[in-house]
Symmetry: C2
Subunit: 197 residues, 2 copies
DNA sequence: GGTTGAACTGAACGTGCGTTCAGATAGCAT
DNA sequence: ATGCTATCTGAACGCACGTTCAGTTCAACC
């Protein structure tokens, strides 16, 4: 038996990436074997190599896709004016986007050390670009006298760490709803940079 | 050749744990082999088993020791009164303690998924105990009308994520000194819960 | 100075790894 | 019906893994 009815490249490829993302997030890149990924998809290990040159590229592509999507979605937000409104929008966006794809976030933030140096540089650059968007907001807000920050770079990293932490505990159908969580986090972020609640 | 001059159990044991901590933090538990750890110590892989029953216990012991030390150090802080002062003290302590042992922190926060369920439960309980200390401060502060928080549990997790994030970027001898970083983070933490800066 | 025992070596065990590839299969075009 | 090609199998490659253990070495003690 080889190709089963209705199984095509356009189906198997995404299924492989989805399985890899789930398993990498759950057990870690190094702890997951190509055979496990293949089994999840219902395929032999060798078939994976029709869709990725190797395991490392599979990881790097997942991370790159996540960060590309993140930046794209950020750019697609409606324009708002004023640093306070922009920070509020950024915080809500960050929470919402991350809450919806916990596996991708987990992988993108925890598997950096498993990237070969070339891939690492590319992924790190994307991360930096995203951080820079937040830092620009903080700089503008400080320049306008709306934010009180001793150091915008530190504040950027502190805020991102705080916001991203939501993925460690948020579960669909839990005590707090998504909009509620977005609001609470955005409120804390604004207060943290000196905007009165 | 077996035992070299001056090499004893009291020296090799800690060296093994130190090497394991460093390597686990750098590359991840699953990506590090017992042979790599042994090589770092200057010993054959088999010798490790005089000091640990297996690789899993080596990881679990590192995490337990870290969290035990964290809780012990927290308890050893001088007593201060008032939720604001207590939160300030907690934030500075957390930053300082974590800055000084980035490898242990990395391992304790990133390798939870590699723990077998029994070890996981024990480690998770310690983490919970630590978080509860912070939440108690937040509850007291809210009850006293000093903090403005919609949800103490969420705020606890948000603050810990923000503070722990310091280990992702802080480097000895960098642009900002330790005391400076402690102050900035403590300030943000206080503001985030509604204490005017 | 012979004996003891803690500390360690070095080789081996079975297992699973990432990756390759010749061959089998099945849907599509002719 | 036949041939084509994308898709996948199944076996194999060499290698590294965690762990075990009989044997070796050396400081310390009698």
């Amino acid at each position: 038996m080889a190709r089963k009815t209705g199984s095509h490249s356009e189906i198997t490829g995404p299924r492989i990436r989805a399985a890899a993302e789930r398993l990498f997030a759950r057990h870690g890149y190094a702890a997951v074997s190509m055979r496990q990924i293949a089994a999840e998809v219902g395929v032999q290990a060798g078939a994976l190599y029709l869709y990725t040159p190797d395991k490392q590229s599979l990881l790097a592509d997942l991370m790159r896709d996540h960060l590309d999507g993140l930046l794209e979605a950020l750019d697609a937000l409606p324009a708002v004016t004023g640093a306070v409104a922009r920070l509020d929008q950024f915080a809500r966006f960050h929470i919402g986007y991350h809450i919806e794809r916990p596996d991708a976030v987990f992988v993108a933030y925890m598997e950096l050390r498993n990237l070969e140096s070339e891939n690492f540089a590319a992924i790190e650059a994307l991360r930096r670009r995203y951080e820079d968007r937040l830092e620009a907001i903080l700089r503008d807000g400080r320049a306008a006298g709306q934010f009180a920050l001793p150091d915008t770079k530190l504040a950027t990293l502190a805020l991102i760490a705080m916001l991203t932490g939501v993925t460690n505990w948020y579960r669909e159908g839990g005590r707090l709803g998504r909009a509620e969580v977005e609001g609470i986090y955005a409120d804390m972020a604004l207060k943290a940079v000196g905007v009165a609640g």
